[in-house]
Subunit: 282 residues, 2 copies
Amino acid sequence: MLVETSPSATRREVRTARQQGLSIGCVPTMGALHAGHVSLIDAARQQCDFVVATIFVNPTQFGPGEDFLKYPRTLDADLEMCRVAGANLVFTPPVTAMYADSAQTIVRVTKLAQVLEGAHRPGHFDGVSTVVTKLFNTTEPDRAYFGQKDYQQQLIIRQMAADLDQPVEIVTCPIIREPDGLAMSSRNRYLSPHDRQLASRIFQALKLAEQLAAESPLPPTEIAWAMTNHLNSVDGIAVQYAVIADPVTLEPLADRSDSAVALIAAKIGATRLIDNQILRFR
Amino acid sequence: MLVETSPSATRREVRTARQQGLSIGCVPTMGALHAGHVSLIDAARQQCDFVVATIFVNPTQFGPGEDFLKYPRTLDADLEMCRVAGANLVFTPPVTAMYADSAQTIVRVTKLAQVLEGAHRPGHFDGVSTVVTKLFNTTEPDRAYFGQKDYQQQLIIRQMAADLDQPVEIVTCPIIREPDGLAMSSRNRYLSPHDRQLASRIFQALKLAEQLAAESPLPPTEIAWAMTNHLNSVDGIAVQYAVIADPVTLEPLADRSDSAVALIAAKIGATRLIDNQILRFR
């Protein structure tokens, strides 16, 4: 497995692979890898000949007061996981290789990025869409892999790729969960044992929504209310949003329709977690 | 010469050329071609094996009240000029092929795009950087060619390409002028015979600045004042700006330094023209 820190060396390696007729898969990550990331590398390995994982804790997608400085950095373990998972190349640049002091260009998805995570984390998605564009331009992949756990993010990246004619197919992979249902996240390691127990209520709330959609005649607003109630019924969980939305536009859903997505953001102690679940109405 | 209206067909043709080992040059234009555009195609032909010209009057870079609807559209003549100049492929998409109704992504260069043209034409450079990114993603060029006539534009595109790691070299080609010095522009055809005569004063003002920089000890602010005076000394010219700026940052230059650029925007009747000249101080 190759490990590169320079964008130009990375592009050179990828182009060499392409000249050999290999198709390219890219798995962008911020490191602190877990089984969710490994499932993305697995998917890329199944569909592509040459898999590039990127590891970069991107400062521009963290707001003031967010966890950029304490975000877990576990490079040695990450590289070992990439190697075992079968990545061909890991691109792990320093911040200075990604952002010159003179840098002043952003890629902005407007409408989709203004709601939910975008409303709670101003500027977050500008940072995401800009860095993902840079990673696409450096690794020139045929396909790129994102987890459904960041539901709004994968929608925004699909929108961006389509709007800008980026020559890449976006593949969204299923959420990987702990045995009690908690969605895998690099931020789970922030949780105290007590908070870790509480965190499973997020999954329980989503399962409740799934059940109410499938088995009751309740409208989406009532289902969202039930999710919120389930989260609020214990101390230590602060709900930021718990909504039922259109799965493509993310607009709040007033009436039962063909499909929907339930989305939750909640703080468990100091740790902010997100999760989601596609719903089918009966 | 191939002519394509579809982005996917264009990408396919370019990739076929690349698979044959050919290097790709791209010349983005809005049509209404003149000798300035031909010089860009010539430069591309000298440096690249396969030259793609694009012809697209991009609505998103025109503001309300600007000349999008009346902008000259001369496709048959343009295609003939591309053919004679030796382009291998012309990509000339309809607006609907470039912008879906759902499109909501912009590429924004911030600082450089806020001054001069950016201040006089709000949103203009968002439209330019977004469409150029789309054209780069569709034609995947090794090099792309822009005219120095749009000085700020080529700076912004260089900044964007560097900031976003776009794998393309930006080449800026010299201004092509009429015998009396007027910079070639698709908008020159708007000028009445009387306004056409007045328009040469823009070039005269730039030559005056060049001479004062080379031969006098005047500071940049005084030279800018002399340019403005020359333009204002006849009726029918409305100066929008006439400045001496740093050639890289476009910040106004207070003191004589190694190099500078003189930039002018002026309305001659209803026609807005821009021009510029690199200065060397004695």
